[in-house]
């Protein structure tokens, strides 16, 4: 009960803000639809983060603070992409640079205490490439028919699983931040399903992948999230791209299948994290 009491208010606040913004954009500010999803999800996450962990200083003092700024960067990137409409290659290269900088910043303590510069940069580049691939996967999911709903349902499952895996890995704070993302995605998903208005989480893939990657990196490098769990969580969205059954299947059926496919590695990641955690000594 104490755990729910702690987690629910921030998740509820974040979800309410994201849903309200998405609704406002869809009803009264349709011209912003290309980045409406990113703004709504980003604003919701920022509010939830501040509620759960306090206002982060700038420059951030530790990795968790960076997650807040990653959400801000994700929103800015989405707005810029919507306004400038850059070519695919330029967009990809720019995003790869942003991801590399983000990974370098969040892994700064490892450079201070554990890694040499060369080793650290190799790891940063590898991780940044992984984040770019994750973004591409989520972006592809989003571009498919019924993609917005699929992206949000996949994110709900992914972040819900990450929440449990992070909590059993010893960090309630990171778990709470993952819960915030999961609640936002679930609420926006319900909004898309329930209301026929053209809700579109345009460019939310970049923001979601950056914040999710930040959570998993923090969980793995600064808490006790097992490497296999972190990898499974990172690879799970790619499974949503697998072909699903016959073409005659309804969109909702395809969505359910894709979400269920993603849930398999996510559940495995949770089980592995649970297995690696010490026994409850009560």
């Amino acid at each position: 009960m104490q755990l729910l009491k702690q987690m629910l208010p921030s998740a509820a606040l974040a979800a309410a803000i994201a849903a309200a913004l998405l609704f406002i954009f869809a009803r009264w500010w349709k011209s912003a639809s290309r980045c409406a999803g990113a703004i709504a999800i980003g604003a919701g996450y920022v509010a939830g983060h501040v509620f759960a962990a306090g206002w982060p200083p700038f420059p951030p003092r530790h990795a968790t603070h960076w997650l807040f700024w990653f959400a801000v960067v994700g929103v800015i990137a989405a707005v810029v992409a919507a306004l400038v409409k850059p070519k695919g290659t330029i967009r990809l290269v720019a995003w790869a640079i942003i991801c590399t900088i983000a990974c370098r910043l969040i892994l700064q303590p490892k450079f201070s205490y554990a890694w040499s510069a060369a080793e650290g940069w190799l790891r940063v580049i590898a991780v940044a490439l992984g984040v770019v691939v994750l973004t591409c996967c989520l972006d592809l999911v989003e571009r498919r028919p019924f993609g917005a709903a699929t992206l949000l349902s996949v994110t709900t499952v992914l972040c819900g699983g990450a929440c449990i895996a992070l909590i059993v890995s010893g960090t309630l704070l990171l778990g709470q931040l993952a819960c915030i993302l999961s609640a936002i995605a679930a609420t926006c998903f319900l909004l898309i399903i329930a209301v026929t208005a053209p809700f579109h989480p345009g460019d939310a893939a970049a923001l979601l992948s950056l914040v999710c990657a930040g959570l998993w990196l923090s969980g793995f490098f600064y808490a006790e999230l097992p490497a296999t769990s972190a990898l499974l969580l990172a690879l799970a969205p790619a499974i949503a791209l697998l072909p699903v059954g016959k073409e005659s299947y309804s969109q909702s059926r395809v969505l359910a299948y894709r979400t269920a496919f993603v849930a398999v590695p996510v559940a495995l990641a949770v089980v592995l994290a649970l297995h690696a955690s010490p026994p409850l000594d009560y």
């Binding site: 530790h62 960090t171 704070l173 010490p278």
Partner: protein, 187 residues
């Protein structure tokens, strides 16, 4: 003249050594960093750090020339429960992988020889704050190997929020009482 020179040299050496400050290396086996914090406003939870290192320079005649430098690896935190330890070491609280050590470095020592007031900079979780404590000097004596030992103890309270550890305020108290009992071996 030669015996007189020798006597003078011995006397001056004795006087110099008597006036010089004593330097003690902290003995981690006989030094303790204990802490207590309120849990759910019900009772206190106690923990300790099992490792500590540092140097204490103590000048009985001129305490202002004394100094303290202590370092505690946060990874040595122990609350007799592995799940709680993991949580305390995680980014929720001490964030040991990003901030592996807590340090105290004195900037001023004043007061009488046996109860000096030690002021300095306490660094926890990457945040440095000034701290003044009343250090109660213990005894001095020889250890089992003939080494000279000295030590003492201090108790003080800090607010964890001052050091950027804000998570779970309410469920876990903000004020943390710390007991530092330190024994050093004279160099």
């Amino acid at each position: 003249m030669k015996p007189l020179t020798l006597v003078l040299a011995l006397i001056s050496a004795f006087v110099l050594s008597a006036n010089a400050a004593d330097t003690f290396k902290v003995d981690p086996v006989h030094s303790f960093v204990l802490f207590s914090v309120q849990h759910l406003r019900i009772a206190n939870t106690y923990g300790r750090f099992n490792d500590i290192s540092g140097t204490i320079v103590f000048d009985k005649d001129n305490p202002s020339k004394s100094s303290v430098e202590l370092s505690v690896p946060v990874e040595s935190l122990d609350t007799h429960n592995s799940i709680r330890d993991r949580s305390l070491k995680s980014p929720d609280f001490f964030d040991t992988k990003q901030f592996p050590t807590m340090t105290f470095k004195s900037t001023k020592v004043e007061g009488s020889g046996d109860t000096p007031k030690v002021s300095g900079d306490l660094t926890i979780h990457g945040v440095t704050k000034p701290l003044t404590v009343d250090f109660k000097k213990g005894g001095e004596g020889k250890g089992v190997f003939g080494e000279m030992r000295g030590g003492g103890e201090t108790r003080f309270t800090i607010k964890r929020s001052d050091f950027g550890m804000n998570f779970q305020q309410g469920a876990i108290g903000d004020e943390v009482t710390i007991i530092l009992s330190v024994e050093g071996i004279k160099k």
